[in-house]
Each structure stands twice: as C-alpha cells, then as structure tokens.
C-alpha cells in the first residue's frame, strides 16, 4: 500500500506539470489581455502596466517566472483584484466553498445512497418511480433555476432565510446554498446506487446467499452493499472535488464569496494567475481524491490489492 501511495505521488508531479503548461499557454493564447477594456489605455500607460506584470516579456519567460513562483507556493498577484494575491483570494474563498461543499456532500451521500437502495429493493414499485422521478428532475433542474426559486420561496415569500451573504457560515446562510448545491448530486448518487444495487441483487453470490436462507437484511448489509458501493465511490471521488470547489451559480446568487465564481470570472477577465491558481487547485485535488478512491476500493473489495 505504501509503495502504491508513493507511486501515485510520483505520478502526480508530471501530471500537474503538464496541466500547468497546457493551461498556461492556452490561457495566454486567448484573445485580449487582463488590461484590455472598453476604454483603451494610451500605449504608454499600457506599457507601464505590462512592465509591472512582466507581460512585456516573451510568454516563455512569463511561464518560467510563474513556475518559479508556484514551486515556492506563490500563485502570483491577481490581475483582476489588484489589491490581492491569488493565495489571499484562495485562502478567503476556498473555506467558504469547502464548508458549503462538505455539508452538501454529506447530505448528498446519505440521502442519495438511502434513496437508491430503497428504490432498488422495491424495483418498479411506486416508491421506485417516485425516487427515480425525483432523481431525474434533480439532474435536469439546473441550479441557476433552483437557486432563484429557493430565494423567492424561502426569503421573499416566507421570509425564513436570508437571501444571501455568508456571515462566517452561520447556519441560516448555509441552508439554501447547500440545497442548491446538493440536489443534483443527491439525484446522481441515487441513480447510480439504484442501478448498481439492482445489478448486484441479480448476481450469483446473492442468489447463493438467498438459497442458503439468509435473512434479507443480512444479504443486503453483509453481501450486497459493498459491491454496490464500488461504482458509487468512483463517482464520489471527482464529485467531491467538484462539490468542495464550489459553484459559480451558488456564489453569484447567494453572494457567499466562495471560490466558484473565480473559475468563470477568472477566464472572462483574463486574470491569468487566477485561472492558473484554480486549475492547479482543482488538478491537485482531483489527483488526491482519485488516489483516495483507489485506496477505498482496496478497502472495500478484497480482490483488489496494490
């Protein structure tokens, strides 16, 4: 196992390097610059700004400056939020998204897995249809529809919850972002669990267990649950990264100040260092959680050994 972990870390380095290189040059090849605006700047003013941010140098030099900074843990200054560095912005916004994300993840896993199993065990019953209908609605209902609907209902009509803000994560400010964030994940997890459970319940070893006369709860908990969870877990690894790195919709509608909107705004504003920062962050987290998924696989499935 230890060798496996070292191997994964060793593999992660070139992967991240390729990711950084490709993203850097792609980003710099996009038309426009961080400082292009409707009010175009006099050339001498633009020259001063470009010099300050090394933008007057060849892209390859800029790349090595950037890489040098990254190796020292410095993601550079933001081109958009000029008073902040990317490190500061990430430090301010990631915990917000992570808190919304972790709650959403827990809720999504608990509700999604329970609903999926329940529906699978009562395949083609009313309950199953209800759960699957909910799951399909959850998947197709985008959160840019769900978020304003939540605000309209809970904040404007019922006046139960604040329409936005974060206030250091006080619970009333958490409820709607968590609903908006978790719904589609609940739906996806329920669908995957149901499908996987149905498949497992039709496999030979379950039939054997039944033939042996084991009670249903033991068949499900001892024999069916583990194999059922394998596809769910491979979905959960990347899903966890997605969920804790926030959503632009949640940030925009609820004004939470999370990291989600930096993904979109960074690209639109050509905030090169912001785009690179969030790319590196998501890249590293994806590699990390894929490794966690692989380890969990080994824990759950005794056939898998590293």
């Amino acid at each position: 196992m230890l060798t496996f972990i070292f191997k994964r870390i060793f593999e992660a380095i070139p992967t991240l390097l390729i990711l950084i290189t490709v993203s850097f040059f792609l980003m710099h090849s996009a038309p426009g610059s961080p400082f292009s605006s409707e009010r175009s700047l006099p050339p001498e003013v633009l020259a001063n700004i470009n010099a300050k941010y090394h933008l007057d140098e060849p892209v390859i030099n800029q790349f090595f400056y950037y890489l040098g900074g990254v190796l020292q843990g410095d993601l550079g200054p933001s081109f958009r939020y000029k008073d902040f560095t990317i490190n500061e912005l990430v430090a301010q916004s990631l915990p917000v998204s992570a808190e919304i994300g972790i709650w959403s993840f827990i809720i999504a896993v608990v509700i999604g897995v329970s609903c999926g199993i329940y529906a699978a065990l009562r395949q083609n019953s009313l309950v199953d249809y209800f759960v699957m209908a909910f799951a399909n609605i959850g998947i197709v209902l985008p959160n840019f529809v769900l978020a304003p609907l939540c605000i309209l209902f809970f904040s404007i009509y019922l006046k139960w919850l604040p329409a936005g803000g974060w206030n250091d994560g006080a619970w009333p400010y958490l409820v709607m972002p968590v609903i908006a964030m978790s719904t589609s994940y609940i739906a996806q997890i329920a669908r995957i669990t149901r499908g996987s459970m149905i498949e497992t319940m039709h496999s030979n070893f379950i039939r054997t267990a039944r033939a042996k006369g084991l009670p249903s709860y033991r068949i499900i908990l001892q024999h069916a649950l583990r194999p059922t969870m394998l596809p769910v877990i491979s979905y959960l690894g990347p899903a966890f990264v997605g969920i804790i790195t926030g959503s632009v919709i949640v940030d925009v509608y609820f004004g939470t100040g999370g990291i989600g909107q930096h993904f979109i705004n960074g690209a639109l504003n050509r905030d090169y260092s912001m785009v690179m920062g969030v790319t590196i962050l998501v890249g590293s987290l994806t590699i990390l959680f894929n490794a966690v998924v692989d380890i969990l696989y080994a824990v759950i499935d005794p056939k898998i050994r590293y």
Binding site: A30, N48, Y253, G258
Partner: protein, 538 residues
C-alpha cells in the same frame, strides 16, 4: 440663458464669493430618523482596487468616493461644491490654479490633510511605478510634464504641482483647460496618505491599514461577499453625516441584486433587470429610480472599410433606425432616443437638434432609401454585412430589432455576430469589423468627454473616423471660455454631416431604492454619496 447655464453661473459665483455650500445630509424638518442608521447598497462588480489613483470602473468609483475626498465635489446638477479645497484662484491666462485647503480636513488617523498629500496623490497617478490605468486622466487637463512622466521621459517630481504651504496647493497647466476644477472631483486626483503608503506598500488599501479622508473609513472587505465602511469621525463635516455604516454587496448579477432588495437585505440596488421593470413600476412605482446618464449607446461604422467609408451609406443606416421603437419597446426603461453624440443632459452645453432629428421617421426612411441607392445598393443588389456586438441579451435584442428595420426599409442583409467581451474588444480594436455596437460613458460632466472620442488620434476611436475640421474645433474648444459654439459645429460635422457613428439612445441608471432612504440625489454622472443620505424611521 437656459437653466443649466444659470446653475453653473450661480455655482461659479458662489465659489468666487467664497460662499461655503457643501454637500451633506440635509434632513428636512419634521422627518423622524430611524434609530439605526445603516445603509446596504448593491455595489455592482467587485472593484479591481480601492486605491484612488488606480481605481477604474464605476463600482470602484462609488466606493472610493465614500472613503476619500478630493479638492472639489460635484452636486446633483454637475456643479462644483467644495471638498478639501474651500476656494481657488487662477492666474490671468488660467494656467496656474491655486487651491486654498481647509485646515480642519483630516485623515482617519487624525493627521491633517495637507497640500503635500495632494502633491503626492497627483504624482502617484502619473508615476510609471504605480502603473495606473487612469494615468491619462492627468494628461487631459495638461498638467505640466504629465505626459512626459508617464512616458518615462521626465522625473515624477517635475509634475506641475506644488505645495506652496501646508494649506495652499498649486497646479500648473500647459494650456488653459476651463473644466480642470471639475475634473478634481474624480478619484484619480484625490490626495494620498504618503506615510501609510510608504509603510504598507500595495497592502495599504487593506482594512486595518487604510487611512482615508472621506466621510467613511474601511472596516472590512471580503472579496465577493461584502465591503463595510463606518463613519470617519475625523471627517471635517462629520457632524452633518447621518449614516453610521454603509455596506456594499458586490453583486454583478442584476437578478441576485433585485432578489436581495425584495428580501429586504438591500436598501439601494446597483441596477435593475429590464425584464422586471414593468412589474416593479406597477408594484412599487415610488421605489423605481430612473436617471438619465451621461453616456450614449451607439453603432460604430468602420470608416476605413468600403462602403462604410461613404457617409451616405452610414447616414442611410442611421436614418433607418427607428429610435423611438428601440427605446419604447426594446429597452423600455425610460431611455431617450439619441440623435447627437453628446447627451443633452451634459453640463454647460445644450446640443442643437440636428436636421435629421427634426424629420419624421417616414421622411428619414425615404431619405435613407435614396442615400443607399445613390451609393449603389438596392433590393436587387443588397448591402450585406456583419453586425458585431458583445454577448449580452440586451444587445442582442437591440441588434435583432435594428437588423430587421434595416432589412425592411433598405433590404440590407445583416448577420449578427456576437463575441465574448474581451474578444469583442480585441476585434473592435483591430478594426476587424464593419458595423459594431458600442457605448461610451463620460468621465467628467463636460461635452469633450464624449466628443473627444471621435477625434482622429483618440485611442478609442475604433471606427477610425477622421475629419481635420472636427479635430481643429475640438482642439480649439479646450482653451475656450465658452466652447459650446465649437461643440455644436463638431456635432454638426460628425453626426449630421458625416454620421461617423449612429447614436441610438442615452443611457439611464436604473435602481430600486427603499422609500425610507432619504437624501438620495440621482445625477447624470451617478455621483452618489452616502454622506448625503439618511434613514427615515419606518
């Protein structure tokens, strides 16, 4: 003399007499104030910076105006009111301005605001080390050596600014610029606290470090969540300030802004989504505030490309736009059709109605057909082109409407081409377009802020319109006491005669404001100060 000119004259007179007419919350007798004086404002996008010399964009201007104060302010009508300066004098040829500063103006740390702080502020703005995107703002009034310093050809200390003594600040211009004093209300020309900036470097604008001289001081700033400012008890007019705390919520999305207003979490929104205008106007007519803005929405022709180098083609296309239909049914929130490039609300200049604006739309359309035919295009040989705009539903609706007007009246075949913002800017800048959507919001309340745009050397003249007489008129206007004559001639040449661009409508600012917020003074430049406002008991 029209009303605006009267107001300007009276304001100048009061200055000359040294009368102190300041801006502050003016609570009418009998109004009962609320116990809690806290205001929450929708703040548009998160500003790029709070450093006055570096701020760009209106969201940043709104916030820095709360935190800092320059030599003069502009009131709701665009007239000067004293800020840190109480009066000024000029030399005989209007090139040296001497400002007398008030002795009670203080920074939030209790130190006096002196002429040295203005010297430092002005120098910072042009210093290449600061790399301010607004450095050009110091070049416009032609402050001595500003251009050379920006170009790195002169030392920053050679800028034409001087602290005669602690409370006398002198600015020397290369040529007389009549509207220079008005320009001092802009944040680029605000004072800067040297000691604090030298101590903290670029970190000086962070909460805890920042020292400011406006009615408010920065209390907290969480990017993309909120920015809180509290009363600066060192402010010279603090006694007249009523609101204790103002919070700006950075909400770029108009719909999120409105939802939080409807939930009672915001007192004044940044904008309001046009789709909701009719409903809101019906449900809460007193809360919808529409104010004409100093800016024009227009279509730009690439005058270097055939056949748009032919004024007849440009005129035909402009005449065929039914501006009343656009403003009434497409935008529909009270925008005014525009036939001149300078909005009529600009201070000190009332543009004459051009001949084509006096025609009926039918007459204009008939004339448009003739003009296009004379240029060699008709329904059998239709003019075809791409209409470029930046991706946005509002621009799309206008483009569809205008394209169909052109098709119906002139048989013109238009392909709509939308591009993401930065790509669109790049395309326009490169001149890689035929007709493009554009807009321009004035930087200061004087007609040259609009008209300069169409001079041949202006960096934003993307259509590359060029007319020697127009350039001469605008250049001459810069030193004229009453430049209106030149401005009218310039409008006549660029629009009525050449149709360099097709003005479509005058922008408006649209906001929702709770009825309990008093003292809100909407104005064409959108210079809104929280220190003028108060919360009525409700």
């Amino acid at each position: 003399m029209n009303l605006k000119k009267t107001l300007l004259a009276s304001a100048l007179m009061s200055l000359a007499l040294g009368a102190v007419q300041t801006q502050a919350a003016d609570v009418p007798a009998g109004v009962k104030l609320a116990d809690v004086q806290e205001l929450v404002r929708g703040g548009g996008a998160e500003p790029a910076t709070l450093d006055p010399q570096k701020v760009e964009g209106t969201p940043g201007s709104h916030r820095t105006r709360e935190l800092f104060e320059g030599l003069y302010n502009l009131d709701g009508d665009g007239n000067l009111t004293p800020g840190v300066a109480t009066s000024y004098t000029t030399n005989s040829d209007n090139t040296v301005y001497t400002f007398n500063l008030r002795k009670d103006a203080k920074w939030s740390n209790g130190e006096s605001v002196t002429a040295h702080d203005f010297v430092f502020g002005f120098q910072r703005a042009v210093d290449p080390v600061t790399a301010s995107a607004y450095a050009w703002y110091v070049e416009i009034p032609s402050i001595v050596n500003a251009s050379k310093i920006i170009n790195g050809k002169a030392d920053v200390k050679s800028l034409g600014v001087k602290a005669v003594d602690d409370y006398t600040f002198e600015v020397t211009l290369e040529r007389p610029v009549p509207y220079f004093v008005k320009m001092t209300s802009h944040q680029t020309l605000f004072p800067a606290p040297r000691k604090v900036i030298e101590k903290y470097g670029s970190e000086w604008v962070k909460p805890g470090n920042m020292v400011s001289n406006g009615a408010y001081k920065l209390d907290s700033w969480i990017v993309n969540e909120k920015m809180e400012m509290v009363r600066n008890d060192q402010y010279w007019n603090n006694e007249k300030t009523v609101i204790d705390k103002v919070t700006f919520l950075p909400l770029e999305n108009d719909s999120a802004d409105l939802k939080r207003y409807e939930a009672g979490e915001i007192d004044i929104t940044w904008n309001l989504p046009s789709d909701h205008f009719k409903r809101l106007k019906k449900e809460s007519p007193d809360e919808v505030i529409i104010t004409p803005q100093l800016g024009t929405y227009y279509y730009q022709f690439n005058t270097k490309v055939e056949p748009y180098n032919n004024p007849d083609v440009r005129k035909a296309l402009s005449f065929a736009i039914n501006r009343d239909v656009i403003t009434k049914y497409v935008t529909g929130v009270g925008e005014q059709p525009a036939y001149t490039f300078t909005p009529s609300i600009v201070n000190g200049f009332n543009p004459e109605t051009p001949a084509y604006a006096k025609m009926t739309q039918k007459e204009r359309e008939a004339e448009a057909k003739k003009l296009l035919q004379s240029a060699g295009y008709d329904k059998n040989n239709p003019l075809t082109f791409n209409l470029l705009y930046n991706t946005n539903d509002g621009h799309k609706r206008i483009a569809i409407a205008i394209a169909s007007m052109w098709k119906k009246t002139l048989g013109v075949e238009v392909t709509l081409e939308n591009q993401e913002w930065k790509t669109y800017l790049e395309t326009r800048k490169a001149g890689d377009f035929q007709v493009a959507r554009a807009g321009w919001i004035g930087d200061y309340n004087e007609a040259s802020t609009m008209l300069d745009l169409l001079t041949s050397t202006h960096g934003n003249n993307d259509g590359k319109y060029s007319n020697a007489e127009y350039d001469r008129l605008l250049n001459e206007a810069k030193t004229m006491k009453n430049p209106s004559i030149n401005y009218n001639k310039a409008e006549e040449i660029a629009i009525n005669q050449d149709m360099a661009v097709a003005p479509i409508y005058t922008y408006v600012t649209k906001r929702m404001k709770k009825p309990y917020v008093g003292g809100y003074q909407p104005n064409p430049e959108d210079n809104i100060y929280t220190r003028d406002m108060y919360i009525i008991a409700h």
